[in-house]
Symmetry: C2
Subunit: 303 residues, 2 copies
């Protein structure tokens, strides 16, 4: 492999970036961790916590020192950083290798293509399917990615050695690394993650604004707390995702709304048969999914 | 108090009925527990598990033996049972006292009024805000109601002693018993429980039916599992709730859909400001709610 793994630069030291640095230090995949970002306080805290060894506020210095750059900022900032980094990358085979952790891949691919219409050989886009409604470097932990999926979306122009390095990096955190096309990724994530967040935010906002909101929240219980957990996620991160994955999210929202409209009609008509059929289908699908998810984690735990 | 608490009859021995019997036996509130229902297998299992002492398939026998009757069947069955029981109840002050655990109160009040246009003095409607996506007597446990709210919706015609008895019964399970009007109850529950269930069922059903469903469920993770947990709930129970609480549920669905439409417009317009404002409002409301819920449980735990 032509690339070194010695020094990893984390751009955006929050939950994901901090957890990745902790995991890679713990696995021994890399020796040195640099931070970069606009919030000097997070970077200082990262040094105090031993998550990173040092930080810089200078992008050129970062590019000179890092073997691997992982962009862990909100999606739109990640796109801006890519536009600035891509023109400074050298020939295939020369470092640094660049990757990211954003929940949207199409918008980042487009940003990477802007400077000169080609995907740099060393830029491998990726997305760890892990997170928490908590955010910030304080919430970071070395096992955040263990038994979780990481999706890489390599492009034809990518250097296979760079793809292999990014795959090895995530594998060392205990993640299960898979590959997928950019558009497929964005459609799947819109359905399984971006749409549920949109629904949870919408539900809480609708109820909070209603005239009965005091009573509503007073009598809401554990089921409501679980259902709305993701509405406590970072609003900036989700604003960026909603903007960056606009088309796939709209498609998922429209699919949902069409089904909700059908359910509304069944409720209005008190159509017992259709209500039971819908709820039964959903229960079967959800029970099947959770059995699969449990088996996946169980299998991993036994490895 | 003119009423006895010796023998409790549970009509519909599932998660709620089974847990109530276990809790009342454990607290010593009552001595003897009878089961009644159409599924003899559940009743036999209830005896095996020591949840009930015996069972009958004969409603007249039940009425003759029980001091307290708790209807824990799905809502529409509960309405049918009320129509049959109400004409057989005696004068105020004579047992049995009758209550229920259904998630909808208006439809049950209406059923109770059918036989002779008046609310029987000994019928006190109620609703424990507790449950699980698991169902059946096997899943029942004595602490299901501890630190949970139970809402009673007493009517003017109720005998205050009967209301007091039902309140004392639930209090002995560790629940926090409050009173509320029937319509208020149904509107609050539509918002906090019935609507979220409708959304979760709709989401899972929409995704299960989509062309990408295999990939979607393959890459869904813990956040999706939590968000859709309530879609594993009993379809019959939720069919009945959707039918029995039609008007309040439609109102809640329409409120939600109006807000979802606004969010869709913001996503389509890539309106960063509105997206951030919506997500931030929702996060604040949800964080506030969970802090309250935690404090409520904390306070209870310290009692």
């Amino acid at each position: 492999m032509a690339y070194s793994t010695d020094t990893v630069a984390i751009l955006g030291l929050g939950l994901i970036g901090g957890s990745l640095a902790r995991a890679l230090r713990s696995s021994g995949f890399s020796r040195r961790f640099l931070g970069y970002g606009h919030r000097e306080q997070s970077l200082r805290r990262g040094v105090e916590l031993g998550v990173i060894d040092s930080f810089t506020l200078d992008l050129d210095e970062l590019l000179a020192q890092a073997d691997i750059i992982v962009i862990c900022t909100p999606t739109l900032v990640a796109a801006d950083i890519l536009r600035r980094i891509v023109p400074r990358l050298g020939e295939a085979g020369s470092g640094p290798v660049v990757t990211d952790a954003a929940s949207v891949k199409g918008a980042l691919r487009d940003a990477a293509l802007e400077p000169d219409g080609a995907m740099p050989a060393q830029l491998v886009l990726g997305h760890p399917i892990a997170g928490s409604e908590r955010s910030g470097v304080e919430a970071s932990r070395a096992d955040l990615f263990a038994h979780h999926r990481v999706i890489l979306t390599p492009e034809q122009d990518n250097d296979p050695a760079a793809v292999e390095l990014v795959r090895a990096m995530w594998a060392s955190t205990g993640a299960d690394v898979v590959e997928m096309g950019v558009d497929e990724h964005d459609a799947v994530l819109a359905a399984t993650s971006h749409l549920p967040h949109a629904l949870a935010y919408t539900l809480v906002d609708a109820l909070a604004g209603s005239e009965r909101s005091a009573d509503i929240f007073r009598f809401a219980a554990g089921g409501f707390r679980d259902f709305t957990r993701i509405a406590s996620s970072d609003p900036v991160m989700w604003r960026d995702i909603a903007i960056a994955n606009r088309d796939a999210l709209l498609q998922a929202m429209d699919l949902f709304s069409a089904h909700l409209g059908q359910l509304r009609a069944a409720v209005a008509a008190q159509d017992a048969e259709q209500l039971l059929a819908t709820f039964s289908r959903a229960k079967r699908a959800r029970d099947h999914f959770t059995a699969d998810l449990a088996a996946r984690h169980q299998g991993k735990a036994q490895e």
